[in-house]
Symmetry: C2
DNA sequence: ATTCATGCAAAGCATTTGCACATAA
DNA sequence: TTATGTGCAAATGCTTTGCATGAAT
């Protein structure tokens, strides 16, 4: 496994294993916000040893918990995963379900939104803008 | 069934049935953004006749398709439903999963966001801001 | 030795679907 | 009678879990 991936996992307190490395590596390499099953299909043949769906699910959960990747929920029924943990938002193509990153620059000068929600009794930790639309 | 609900359903081209009416009525009455199962539990005893989960799911899908209610996806695995179809956003309590409406006024003067996404090759139809946080 | 990751298969939920029956225009 | 809605049960799809094996500290 590459030195960078090993370092990345260690930095987040995730013990590097070949399975975890290849999953993390794949997520870093793509911008397609794959589902768990898409991850499985993409990496199952990239290892000399076998890889099970359970390990893919376990690994994705671990990577989310440790902050290596993000879970993106755009439709009911399945989760998608995003190795881009920088501050950005998402666009969902309603015709294909495809998810794309929307960098902050794209949406112009968005004021930092801190709604005084419910008389200040709730604390906003972060927010996520999801744009829905289609290809012109 | 109440005259208002009957009118509402008719207005959206949904044939009013007792099952549909009681489901729509419940959704209008609550701000809790219930899941399909929560809807089922809330209304199953409100009818002289029986009500099946399949009908709840079918009805919710119909109501979403016809624009009577909105589907809100805040967590992987299950959909929530919202009879508030006015323009607003959502706050998710990370500790309880509870979803609350955030009226536009709460978030101040938000400029209309129309990202020139991907060189204008995509058309944004709408967007949804989801705030995540917890009770103070 | 002990701890932790993996793989398999089974189980668990949320949701959809096929089909028969009921209901309404 | 023709179309459409409902209910049941089975099926489906995504995800989690229990348990045995295997690897690493």
């Amino acid at each position: 496994m590459s030195y960078e991936i090993e370092q990345l996992l260690n930095k987040h307190g995730v013990k590097p294993t070949p399975q975890r490395a290849v999953i993390a590596e794949y997520l870093m390499s793509t911008m397609s916000h794959p589902t768990a099953d898409e991850v499985f299909q993409a990496v199952e043949n990239k290892l000399p040893v076998s890889l099970s769906r359970a390990t893919v699910y376990n690994t994705l959960n671990t990577l989310v918990e440790k902050g290596v990747i993000r879970e993106v929920v755009t439709e009911a029924g399945k989760a998608r995963y995003d190795a881009n943990i920088s501050d950005h938002h998402h666009f969902v193509d309603l015709e294909t379900g495809q998810v794309m990153d929307v960098p902050l620059e794209e949406i112009g000068n968005l004021p930092i939104i801190q709604p005084k929600f419910m008389d200040g009794s709730f604390e906003v930790q972060n927010f996520q803008i999801t744009f829905f639309g289609k290809r012109k």
